[in-house]
Structure formats: C-alpha cells, structure tokens
C-alpha cells in the first residue's frame, strides 16, 4: 500500500500532537526495573541453589546405593569397642568446647579490630 504524497489523512495525522509523557515516568520506570532485576537475580540464585542441592542429593544417593549394594568401594568398616564409648564422648566434647572457644575468641578479636 503506497503512501499518497497528497494523502490528506497523512497530513492531518502529522499535525496531531503526541501525548506528553508523565514527567516522572523515567525515574518511576527505572526504579521498577532495578527492583525487577534484583528479583530476577535472587530467583536465579534460588534456582541455582536448588539445582546444586538436588545434584548433591542425587550423587550422595548414588554413592550410598553403590556402597551398600554394589560394595563400591570395597571397604571394611570395623565398629569401635563399646567400652571405649566414654573416651570417644570425652574427645568429641573437648573438640566442640575448643571449637566454641576458638569462635568466641575470633569474634572478640574482630570486634576489637573494628573499634
């Protein structure tokens, strides 16, 4: 469809003023865009985390099934003697106490450094 050079409608349409944009349109729009970008980024990270968790669970399940049913790798597990259980609890508790003290001392040191 050719545009007639003397098309009166075309001449009239050219005279219709364009509707003015609201003055704060750009600012409002960019604010919405930034929020949307943040939302999309968080959603991407969430899906990424879900994918990593699912992949890890899948691999662990495969490894466990392989270990139990296919005996891969061939490992002999010997259970500890029951009379040594108090000793193991003492060692485990001592480790936890030392880890806790390490954490508290590091936090105390970092706070001192920040001041």
């Amino acid at each position: 469809m050719k545009r007639k050079e003397q098309d009166p409608l075309e001449r009239l349409f050219k005279q219709i003023p364009a509707a003015p944009l609201p003055p704060d349109f750009r600012e409002v729009m960019m604010e919405k865009i930034r929020r949307e970008a943040l939302r999309m980024q968080k959603r991407k990270e969430r899906w990424g985390l879900i994918a990593v968790i699912l992949a890890s669970v899948f691999m662990l399940t495969l490894a466990t099934l392989g270990f139990i049913y296919l005996k891969i790798p061939r490992v002999e597990i010997s259970l500890p003697r029951p009379d040594l259980l108090p000793f193991y609890i003492y060692i485990g508790g001592l480790t936890l106490v030392l880890l806790g003290m390490d954490y508290l001392l590091r936090r105390h040191y970092q706070r001192k450094q920040q001041k």
Binding site: P8, K14, I33, E36
Partner: protein
C-alpha cells in the same frame, strides 16, 4: 537544555545496549527507555484514550520488554519487537474493559467516494478537520485506532505492521482501506 542524554542514546545501536543489559548492566535500560518511552506512550494513549491507563500500560510494556529481553534474538528490529508488545498489551487491556464501539454500517462507508473526500478536505478549515479527525478516531475500535496510528503517526510500513500485529499483509491492507473509509464517513457525517 542538556542534550547529552539525547546524544548519548543515539551514539550506540539498540543491540549494543541490549547486550549490556543482558550482561547485567541494568542501568543501560535507561537509554532504551529514553529512546522509546514517548513513542510507546503515545501509541498506548491513542489506543486506550486515557492518561492514567496509558501510563500504567506503558510501564507494563517496558516491564514485559525487560523480562523478555533474553528471548529477543534480533530477528526483527528492537523497535518492531517493542511495538508488538505495546500493541498487544494496549489492545488486550481494551478488550478487558469491553467498551462498546460505534458500529458503522458498511453501506455508509461504500457511499463515500474518493472525490467527495477530496472536496471535504478542500472545503473544511484545517483546524476543524483536525477536530473531526480526533472525534472520529475516538469512535473507532481500539485495534483499528492502533493500526491507523502505526501507519500514519509512526510511519510504519505494511511489513512492519504485519510483524507488530500478527495480521497478514492482505488483511492489513484491507483493514487500512476500511478504516480510512470509516474515518471519511465519520468526518463527513460530523461536517453535516
């Protein structure tokens, strides 16, 4: 007036900004916004004929464009792609409102020969013609208003209108012919 934003937005192509936005530089969207916001708003306003709705729908258009930017493969120009979103968003919104439009009898349109339209434009004052045109446009259905605006105000070719509206080329040409006839019939009726 500070012309730097206008100069800056024309220094690079749309593809350059799109690539940067897709790479995470969200603020580059402002350049596309500066370039197309007036055009989008004016088309939406012409279709919905309400300032508040036009502002809201224009924001919807740009949000849809931003969300779908990763799916823009460059098969058409960015402006055609954006106009497609604009046209569909505006027309869908008017369908939800279900406003009744003036049904014009086909015979009334057929009875408007080209010669009388030429004489109409020759006799009527230009300011009045503009007034009649604006009133006649209000009486058209939204999709037809959108089509005629794309053709005359946005100066889109038939091929671009086909991409924007999803209609076939013959359908666009037929519709344009009928819309022009309708406008002439309405304007003639107003003059009488």
């Amino acid at each position: 007036m500070d012309l730097r934003p206008y100069i800056a937005m024309n220094l690079y192509t749309d593809s350059y900004y799109i690539q940067r936005i897709q790479a995470g530089e969200t603020d580059c969207f402002a350049c596309l916004l500066d370039k197309y916001s007036r055009q989008v708003y004016s088309l939406v306003y012409r279709i919905v004929e309400n300032r508040e709705d036009a502002e809201e729908l224009s924001q919807d258009v740009f949000m849809k464009a931003f969300r779908s930017l990763s799916s823009f493969k460059g098969e058409s120009s960015f402006s055609t792609w954006l106009y497609k979103i604009t046209y569909n968003t505006a027309v869908s919104a008017t369908r939800k409102k279900k406003t009744e439009w003036l049904a014009i009898d086909d015979s009334a349109m057929e009875n408007v020969p080209e010669e009388s339209t030429d004489s109409f434009f020759g006799q009527v004052d230009e300011k009045e013609q503009l007034d009649y045109l604006n009133k006649a446009l209000e009486q058209l259905p939204p999709d037809e208003r959108g089509l005629i605006t794309l053709f005359y105000m946005k100066e889109k070719s038939v091929e671009e209108i086909v991409s924007i509206t999803g209609l076939s080329a013959s359908n666009v040409k037929t519709k344009m012919y009928r819309i022009r006839k309708k406008l002439y019939a309405l304007m003639k009726a107003m003059e009488e």
